[in-house]
Symmetry: D2
Subunit: 294 residues, 4 copies
Amino acid sequence: MSTPQSIGAQPRQASLLLRCPLRLGLAAELTNLVYTQGGAIQYHDQNVDPDSRHYYTCLKWDASGMKVSDQGMQERLHTMIGSGPDIEWSVRYSDQPMRMAIFVSKDPWCLYDILARSHSGEWNVQVPLIIGNHADMAPIAERFGIPFRLFAINKENKEEIETQQLALLKSEGIDFVVLARYMQILSGRFVQAYPSRVINIHHAFLPAFPGARPYHSARERGVKMIGATSHYVTETLDAGPIIEQDVLRVSHRHSVQDLVRFGRDLEKIVLSRAIWSHIQRKIIVHNGRTVVFD
Amino acid sequence: MSTPQSIGAQPRQASLLLRCPLRLGLAAELTNLVYTQGGAIQYHDQNVDPDSRHYYTCLKWDASGMKVSDQGMQERLHTMIGSGPDIEWSVRYSDQPMRMAIFVSKDPWCLYDILARSHSGEWNVQVPLIIGNHADMAPIAERFGIPFRLFAINKENKEEIETQQLALLKSEGIDFVVLARYMQILSGRFVQAYPSRVINIHHAFLPAFPGARPYHSARERGVKMIGATSHYVTETLDAGPIIEQDVLRVSHRHSVQDLVRFGRDLEKIVLSRAIWSHIQRKIIVHNGRTVVFD
Amino acid sequence: MSTPQSIGAQPRQASLLLRCPLRLGLAAELTNLVYTQGGAIQYHDQNVDPDSRHYYTCLKWDASGMKVSDQGMQERLHTMIGSGPDIEWSVRYSDQPMRMAIFVSKDPWCLYDILARSHSGEWNVQVPLIIGNHADMAPIAERFGIPFRLFAINKENKEEIETQQLALLKSEGIDFVVLARYMQILSGRFVQAYPSRVINIHHAFLPAFPGARPYHSARERGVKMIGATSHYVTETLDAGPIIEQDVLRVSHRHSVQDLVRFGRDLEKIVLSRAIWSHIQRKIIVHNGRTVVFD
Amino acid sequence: MSTPQSIGAQPRQASLLLRCPLRLGLAAELTNLVYTQGGAIQYHDQNVDPDSRHYYTCLKWDASGMKVSDQGMQERLHTMIGSGPDIEWSVRYSDQPMRMAIFVSKDPWCLYDILARSHSGEWNVQVPLIIGNHADMAPIAERFGIPFRLFAINKENKEEIETQQLALLKSEGIDFVVLARYMQILSGRFVQAYPSRVINIHHAFLPAFPGARPYHSARERGVKMIGATSHYVTETLDAGPIIEQDVLRVSHRHSVQDLVRFGRDLEKIVLSRAIWSHIQRKIIVHNGRTVVFD
């Protein structure tokens, strides 16, 4: 079941994301708990992986009339769900919007699209920080009143710069990072600090054309469609769990520059859809893949 | 054949748009004229309508090495093409970028998308003016440094306000108008002042769901895809020549609010594609339809 | 959760389709009942309509190890679900494949596609009968060894012919009817005999271009995409609940004949997807719309 | 410009496919030649590759009123076009329909789709021969009255069997071969005998997931769309020039079996579109890519 996106003043909403081995009746127990504690269910979707027999669910409720504190609800859920290596869950409330940092290089289209959405209230998110390895995007950050920090990273200073960046992210209370056409590869150490919390956009239909210059490769190979892929960053380049993909039809009439132009729109829309699902807490990562609820 | 979009400093490009009854050899005459006058052809596409036997073509050339003045070229083309009620053509040069006015009401997504593109150099266009019938979008105009003019139009003052608007458009040398979610119907007089030069975005897959509240109608009818349509405005509501359309798959799981959210992305992309084709001078309007070259 | 389509010998599967006003805990009661009676759940999807607060579900289980007879299960479900004007449900078992009658006129593409699927075991369905208002498709019926009955229907004999057709459908135990490019409008009396059990394919993206010659209308209007729509037939032409739709991009380069050619593929794929969902018992009709489970 | 597909009795049509280095005025010379020899142009599309500066064109005309014999036209074209290593062209007439051999293994969906089209007159093609490495498809061949030849090919006898197959293709006057889910890799020798004349369908969006079991790989990688690719076979597996591709959206809810089911429709439609373009003589292969005219 599906409910409208929160724009403007909305009642306080709780969202539970859970994955665990399939257990009969758990769905009913969870919805019953929410109901008896005064929550009005607004969204509930679930899925069972046919291979691993894992259960995935996303449950959202209006928490404004709860008879129990957040802490009390947390304890009751803990008792009900239990714990173990295969169990992962969390609850978050809509009055604690996520804090997002945006990493950029020189390309504006994804950055503009993200800022337009966050500033117009389309997304319930805070953007306290934009980080660039070039200064080109600083004027856009300024236009939207967001602090811009330049880190001129290179091979030699990479470890030190990343240490500074991680400290900055921590001090700003950043929940997740978006690489909006950030033309740098993050180290394993950085990625491990934000597991399933760094979202990248790759300008190809992965696993086709990973790495550099995918539009040139697409033109060279003569494909009839080009794509874009947003994914969580892992230590292996362009191999992380895919969140969203889309494609556009092209033909022999289109030059590499045409593909680049078409691709800009694909990239920004695919990245923004992925960010929306992340902010809405609709994504569960498991076994290198994502469950993305509608 | 296809050439890259002009971003940054480019040689001066001429573009010819022409429609006329099919005439054998005209294509060769035109390309030959350009060639012998020192132009290097960069793009040439053409089409013959199988019903009306009309010929449509778009021809672009690097005009930086022309041996003849713009006026001289105009005269030679006039001699070659001739004139008559069924013949329509024009040449324009890339160092005279079109001037676009944007009309808005309260919705930001199309406006942001247009301004991001015009400001980042993705489009060769000037935006000297934003007109609103509400003040909501004024801060966004200000953010991008563009004059915003509020016209609180209503049934009573419509004729007078439109007179003022037309005068303003004229004084600003506006070439074409974009209705970026402008929730007002233009009068026939206004439309006639800018024939095939007012671009609207309608949030449905026309001719399905014209008029008000199309997402509600789409949900009510239970369609499995929603769409958006950009078209030139004519005197009949939502019936003008279609420039571009696109759709997204939806299901019973989606509420009207979900459709509205999905629709925002469709609307802005479809509108911006239409504007791009207009700026690139790739559109010919004939018999209530468009020829849109790639 | 999702399970493979039945091809070849499969365990006996039960499927429950249910709609009723939302009732807390019903999902858990149902799955619990299936489980305690020896059924292994293979598929479970559900949805709540945000406006009507109706609950829709499709539940499938391996019924080969049930401890209770089909009749016994029916009684237990009846007790649990209850009855009333807003409640509708049914159970069906996979060893009773549905019986489908196909109505045709002169166009072969949908008929071929349906017969290829039913004959190759892609669908668990029986096709005992093809009815034509012209004889053109008789050789194809013969090629697949299916009885073909010609009814030369016209305005004068329509009531009598439909009476004969309904009698034939009844004597053949037909569960549902597919209009595979059948160029006749069924009477209200016929439609009422098979409510939500006559599937039509219309060669347009409804509600755009209902009625005759939609490709001509599409070309005339200058749309940039064409579509096809499969729907349950009701007494109002082309206004029944939509099951499936799809579209293809077209341009000014395409003649009506091109649209007709592209459309053939759209029509057969969209119709066959609708038939598959119907055979798989994944469709609930309510308030003039469909819920189509994945 | 675009003309209808030939169904039924049509005037004799000539089609010229040509690629050569760009030469000013050649298009006009060609259309002029056709015109002055009594041909009525029905289709003309052309393209210039921006990188190689090669010219590609497809020109079709009604040849029923030609003042010159086919041989005479051939000579005039030869004189006009010239010859050389970079020039390739051919003319073919619609009263010599191409002869297609279909290679199959055990899967029926592509075979059925091809036979339905060739038998209903949707395609102007002859199918004198179906070759299988298993006997499973023999009954379908028989249903359509087409000779079926079984070649139980394996590693040991591959060279000898291919020799027999090539002899059979030659004796039957086969113009091109379609691998309709033929689960064997052709040798280099076979491929060289039919350059750009063996069409394969691969059940993935190449270059993603080449080789075996692509749907399993797609599910394992967690992609959000699956695809199919038709291409000319070259000596490198799944690396030949791509003719057509398409994709469908999938999600975490879909099992490998769901992907296989969705994929069947993609495969047959993508393969049939490629065959149609080949039969219509709308494809030019150059530099490992295809130009596919509309």
